[in-house]
Symmetry: C2
Amino acid sequence: MAALGDCSEHKHCASPGQPRGSAPVSSWEEGRELAGGDGRVCSQLCACCWNGARGPRLPAAPDFAVDRLSGLAGSQLRGGVRGGGGQWAGCPGNAESDPAQGLSRADWEAGAFRGARGRGRPPVRTAPGGGAAGPHASSRSSRRGGSVVPRLRSALAMKPTFSLRLRIFNLNCWAIPYLSKHRGDRMKRLGDFLNMESFDLALLEEVWSEQDFQYLRQKLLPTYPAAHYFSSGVIGSGLCVFSKHPIQEFTQHVYTLNGYPYMIHHGDWFCGKAVGLLVLHLSGLVLNVYVTHLHAEYNRQKDIYLTHRVAQAWELAQFIHHTSKKADVVLLCGDLNLHPKDLGCRLLKEWTGLHDAYLETQDFKGSEEGCTMLPENCYVNQRELEPFPFGIRIDYVLYKAVSGFYISCKTLRTTTGRDPHSGTPLSDHEALMATLCVRHIPPQHTPSPTHGLAERSRLVSILKEAWIELDLGVAQARWWTTFAGYVIGLGLLLLALLCALAAGGGVREVAILLWTPSVGLLLGAGAVYIFHMQEAKGLSGARAELQHVLGRAREAQDLGLESQPALLLGQQEGDGTEEQ
Amino acid sequence: MAALGDCSEHKHCASPGQPRGSAPVSSWEEGRELAGGDGRVCSQLCACCWNGARGPRLPAAPDFAVDRLSGLAGSQLRGGVRGGGGQWAGCPGNAESDPAQGLSRADWEAGAFRGARGRGRPPVRTAPGGGAAGPHASSRSSRRGGSVVPRLRSALAMKPTFSLRLRIFNLNCWAIPYLSKHRGDRMKRLGDFLNMESFDLALLEEVWSEQDFQYLRQKLLPTYPAAHYFSSGVIGSGLCVFSKHPIQEFTQHVYTLNGYPYMIHHGDWFCGKAVGLLVLHLSGLVLNVYVTHLHAEYNRQKDIYLTHRVAQAWELAQFIHHTSKKADVVLLCGDLNLHPKDLGCRLLKEWTGLHDAYLETQDFKGSEEGCTMLPENCYVNQRELEPFPFGIRIDYVLYKAVSGFYISCKTLRTTTGRDPHSGTPLSDHEALMATLCVRHIPPQHTPSPTHGLAERSRLVSILKEAWIELDLGVAQARWWTTFAGYVIGLGLLLLALLCALAAGGGVREVAILLWTPSVGLLLGAGAVYIFHMQEAKGLSGARAELQHVLGRAREAQDLGLESQPALLLGQQEGDGTEEQ
């Protein structure tokens, strides 16, 4: 396995000892020359080399040149607030704050991706704007407390040339103590990679051990001063976040339903699966970031957790809907354990209005079909992926902008199941790396009324489908409670019989021997009764919410307000999303 | 026990057969004459007679006359939108929509309250406004779907003469199937009372049986067309709501921590205590209504659930904080199981900025000190109330207005532990009946900076206190997990020993006999381990949130921003409340 440390072998990474932020790259040509010009192999796990061993390098695509030409810090403010002059060119990169990152991104572009799928669309060059802001301009301003930044909104974010760029990293880390292979090594390499790439936000799932989080926290402290681990369940939610920018607020919502405690071998119940919310103030914008991990799907053909996952997706959608009413940008990352066409995924997207980075991005590079669990990954259970030769896509970056803003996914990258050096990837899932750009909506933008009609019909149909699924779930949960009730009755009868036999002699020893299993049966049935009753109540709650929404949709239809589905179906003024 | 039906004995209630809304009362004098003039005793449970048996009637207070003079529907729009002319006099009553209600309210005023405490302040007569709106003006407009009403805000709610009146009812119903005395009768009388009073919103707790909810739903349907029961836990959250106005949206949040399942005799764990959220659109305003019920306090001297209740109060405060960012009016009702000076109550009020109706009202009538559990109540366990001769105040109506609005509690009434006729009250708790009035903030209103400093210091001190409480809770939960771990080890050893003894003969029978308790011990210890580990994680999550808030307060202090505590401590622009 390759040793990890400062990159000294490859010219495209910052020179050893050279401080971050000291080597701005001034042109795409220079970047290309540095990226692949020396022909040497990097021993680091920077994104540039992730798939370097897979094939010949390609020339860097011109759309990355646009990014690198600007040489600015990520998620920084544009609009002449802290500087003047300069040409605005889309959402600029943050090469100035971390040159290695800018270079490695270019090399990503230049590198070969085994099975990579590109959907390059040139970025839209919009109106020229103000000058470049200094690195961390936004973080400096947002550090001044909770409401200072929103107060600046009128002055900063309201400028017509406003632009904010965000680089996001998401990975399900598969870090189960004692069970996950090469956990320590993978955590170390993940830390090195995140430090080198210097994303705005790194959102991680399945960091089950708080020791692993503390290790990463220490390691990432210089690059990501803010971090948080979401504690819940018996083991912990596994969710954590590292941020380059200060976190203004955070909270969490633990899902009401999350499997059954008696399914110990699956273990999801013990994790206390949840959604974590972070509120960030960047350049005068309020950014609500959600990170989550839904219940796993263990058997797609006979999925006993389908209803729970649909209920979780609805709970997640409702949590986002109710907590993001004043946010300008909403971002959801995580392992949803849902395929793109699964009911839960469609429900979540339609109800919240979130857009899928993979489907919307101008420029995608990575695994075939954007899959995040690949057969090529040595940690993946190959048998589980047999029906899916390309793998499955269950990890997502979803986003929307509200209140007059527009968000687009400029680039999306995934890892592709292998590390060129050690041969072992960072996890059994693939990482997602998205570059998002927030701008003002062009004044001429008006949503199409026909789109509204189609949207409404799709939403209503999905809501109905979810209602039916939850209704079936309620019926099944009730069946289990009835069954458990009968077993409790039988168990009590058996226990009474055994007591009588033990008192009467004869088969006394056998009777006493059978006490333990009969008491166990009684307790087990009691537990099953309790858990399924809880399940029935939880599902009923979610079903009632869906029913209410459907009822309102019907009311709206009666009133002939078909053209505004999102508005009619619970989303408030300003909560509607724009066409991406 | 008196029979319940249409009030035919007492002139102050609408005549039998007379439809609701058909008998507007035009003056206070008339009301007074009707209220007590005939000297007969009403057999109904209208508010007027609630305490009628307690003493001689007093003349109706003039401030109620102001209400009744206007003769308008509750929570209706003022400002000339649907009518013209007429004098505006504070927030008008809804006598026109339900004359019986106007009368009974006046009679409440006129009736004698045993131990009643009055803090009458005359209502502020502000600028004259537009004419009277028709009954249900607001509900008619808000029925037109989710976003129609907010869109009207600029036209309606933005008028300087805008005024909205809300009549709220809250009661912990103590309706435990098979356990609560006279449950059926009390439910029936509650339904009659709610129908007669025609509140805008009736929020109920401890309606544990969904059958009871369905019974009330049927009974209240003509007066309260919208209703919802919040399902959760094994038994149900017990929370439900009846509304005269359409409910736009609802959702719920189940508390992460809620006692222990092995404390079966207390039973709170099985209830799945939660907070329910309703979003209503009234007269162009967005109204977020929360109803909740926190873990009970069984022993104040040795309260093993104190930490859970503090964690629940924090979770509730955070839920309100994050979900009400776009609401104009926030209302929280429920049984908090917290005394006014308890840490949880102070934490909730300070963090959310909610105001206590009892402390803020212009006019209070009811129990001494506003208590909601009284020794006079025949259902109350007298031993529990021994240290509190006047009773305890644990049920609340809390509110705030944001975005340039001002909310005040015009009147607050409580029942006082007895029904004059049957002698049995509606519940072991007392009902709260509040009349709230929403108006625009006067333009000259500016918060005092010195108040800001004091507020900040109080908030920080409460947050620290809560942090310490949760920290102690985490330590105790960890102690229990360690203890349970040792017991599991011992249980395993014991089981192995018993197996060896059983195999060796001699005391075989005894060994087999001991199997059951040792397996039980093992399972029990395992359950204790799991529940306390879950507790530790849950408390750690809440403690981390508090720590973050305190850290931000410190940062703010360093930056010398002491004068804006609410803004610095996580509350966003426009989320600050006004002086009530």
